[in-house]
């Protein structure tokens, strides 16, 4: 499978990446390579093999439902670009 320039532009937009033409072309070629690898794997007959959702055959460890995180707002907000009244400020979002 080979990706078109439009495919790459769409993926870049979804990932909020700004790319110029030469970057798009480079990404197109690299992504196409990845898709070729996937196509190779897809071709393997996996009949009867249970799909895995994670590379490790382990199960999720669970955490007790007890509060363990103190309030560290001051520390976190010290490195934020802009804060006011305890809120993180971002460029206006219009619904």
């Amino acid at each position: 499978m080979s990706l078109t320039t439009q495919d790459v532009q769409k993926i870049a937009r979804l990932a909020r990446l700004s790319m110029n033409e030469s970057e798009i072309e480079a990404a197109r070629s690299q992504l196409s390579g990845i898709f070729e690898l996937i196509a190779e794997m897809q071709a393997v007959d996996t009949t009867g093999i249970e799909p895995m959702s994670h590379a490790q055959e382990l199960s999720q460890r669970l955490r007790e439902d007890t509060v363990s995180e103190p309030d560290q707002r001051a520390a976190f907000q010290a490195i934020a670009p802009q804060v006011e009244d305890g809120l993180y400020l971002v460029p206006q979002v219009i619904e």
């Binding site: 669970l62 509060v67 707002r73 976190f76 993180y88």
Partner: protein, 484 residues
């Protein structure tokens, strides 16, 4: 030709855990902005999610309550989209393998129109999955900036998805109410709709009978049952009008405006539905072992349906009474405790008082059953005195008023107010004799066929006894004596 309405619901219930789904930050409501936004909630680089056992247990509880399949292995996935209240750039949710599979909920529908009778219906539940909530955007505080509060980010949600089994606003509201009651009953969600603990998205479409499903529009974020009904009614009419005027329905996400009673489409975000789900590599599959399932099962309270069956079966209550008594777990537990005191043989008496006097007084004082000034023990104590004939029903009402206003116990009030009813047949006969002697003319009329006067004699004798005569005994003796 008539239109058929097809409705399905997606309900986000906020789980009542102490901490977030993937970190140990508190979920308490109403704290100062971002004081509960820890490194995981604000998505600092390098942090990893660790799943909250309490959230998993609550999801299992829900599955058990609706008779659903609990997945022995379920998987968390990333749902990718950009919004500032979601700092990771993706929401951790479940896609292909949700924790709760197919189940069902039986609902009692009260039709909204005219004389239609209430009926029962079973709504199929497609699935329920665990996911994290996003933060909150605060608009307008600062010029051309939006404030972000991430206290809510990472709060555990159980999204419960129904099949499109409802065909009226009344059914959709009945389902939402039943679900609301179940999640509170099993204690997995506080059900506080104002605080957003129970949020409903409603998918609505219309079609001609026999035709395939029409295009649906999704009404987002309804947080009151009243608004839900208004929004559905408006939306259904809008879709029918549009189609009958030759228009087409476009799939859309819409909002309901309670001030105008109208629905309107949200501006469609470009690529909004391209979420590019994939299994989250930060989280291993969730395995629910039989042991964990059994442990959760052992903490399940008796469910409303089981209670209703017991009430109608063992106690002989009407379906209506059984429904009222199971409208909340607090109500049912109050009733169970009361019956524990007066005995199953008097369950009907207890039910009558609960659905009658107690409910009416709670309504008048605008109280919930949990705030009832009379305890189940106090009510039971009083009902026991009705059951053993110590007080009449009208005497009991006086005791009830005293208990409500001043507290205390029934026996002391009966003693203090002299409400003990006269069950001594000699004493009652004496009263009857006096009443008959004072109304000799009416006795003659009665005996010559004017049966209606019986009520007069009952009233007069009861009055002469100052309301204390045992009514059943009084009736019986009066009948005998008047017959001559």
């Amino acid at each position: 030709m008539k239109w058929e309405i097809v409705i399905g619901l997606e309900v986000h219930t906020q789980l009542s855990t102490n901490t977030k789904i993937f970190s140990g930050a508190s979920t308490a409501f109403g704290s100062e902005p971002n004081t509960q936004a820890d490194a995981v909630s604000i998505a600092l680089p390098g942090v990893l999610p660790v799943l909250n056992k309490g959230a998993v247990e609550r999801a299992i509880k829900f599955g058990l309550a609706v008779g659903a399949h609990i997945a022995p292995r379920s998987v968390f996935a990333r749902k990718n989209y950009f919004y500032p209240d979601l700092p990771k750039g993706y929401q951790i949710s479940q896609m292909d393998l949700p924790v709760v599979g197919q189940g069902a909920l039986t609902i009692q529908v009260e039709p909204l129109s005219g004389n239609a009778k209430p009926y029962e219906k079973t709504v199929r539940i497609t699935r329920a999955h665990l996911e994290e909530d996003a933060g909150k955007s605060v608009h307008g505080a600062t010029q051309s900036m939006t404030g972000i509060d991430l206290n809510r980010a990472g709060t555990p949600l159980l999204e419960i998805v129904s099949e499109p089994d409802m065909c009226s606003a009344a059914e959709a509201v009945a389902y939402a109410k039943a679900l609301h009651s179940v999640v509170r009953w099993i204690g997995i969600c506080d059900g506080n709709m104002q605080e957003g603990s129970f949020r409903c998205d409603v998918n609505v479409s219309v079609r001609k009978p026999g035709e395939p499903l029409g295009t649906r529009r999704e009404i987002k974020n309804l947080n009151s049952f009243k608004f839900m009904q208004q929004a559905i009614d408006y939306e259904v009419q809008w879709q029918i009008d549009t189609l009958e005027n030759g228009g087409k329905i476009q799939q859309a996400t819409i909002l309901f405006n309670p001030d105008t009673g109208e629905t309107r489409a949200m501006r469609s975000k470009e690529d909004a539905h391209d979420y590019r789900y994939f299994p989250d590599p930060d989280l291993l599959p969730l395995d629910i072992t039989p042991a964990m399932l059994d442990a959760v099962r052992s903490t399940m309270p008796e469910l409303p349906t089981t209670k209703r069956e017991r009430y109608t079966g063992s106690f002989g209550l009407s379906a209506y009474d059984a429904n009222s008594l199971t409208s909340s777990r607090e109500m049912a537990e109050f009733f169970d405790t009361t019956v524990g005191i007066v005995g199953g043989a008097n369950a009907k008496l207890a039910a009558n008082w609960m659905t009658g006097e107690v409910s009416a007084q709670l309504n008048r004082d605008n109280l919930e059953i949990a705030q009832c000034p009379i305890s189940a023990a106090q009510l039971g104590g009083m009902l026991a005195r009705i059951a053993d004939g110590t007080i009449s029903n009208s005497g009991a009402k006086e005791v009830f008023r005293a208990l409500w206003a001043e507290g205390g116990d029934a026996d002391a009030i009966i003693e203090a107010k002299g409400l003990k009813q006269v069950s001594d047949s000699g004493a009652i006969e004496k009263i009857i004799d006096e009443v008959m002697a004072a109304n000799a003319d009416k006795v003659t009329e009665y005996r010559s066929g004017k049966d209606k006067l019986f009520g007069f004699f009952v009233g007069a004798a009861m009055k002469a006894s100052q309301g204390k005569a045992n009514p059943a005994q009084l009736n019986e003796l009066l009948k005998k004596k008047l017959a001559g």
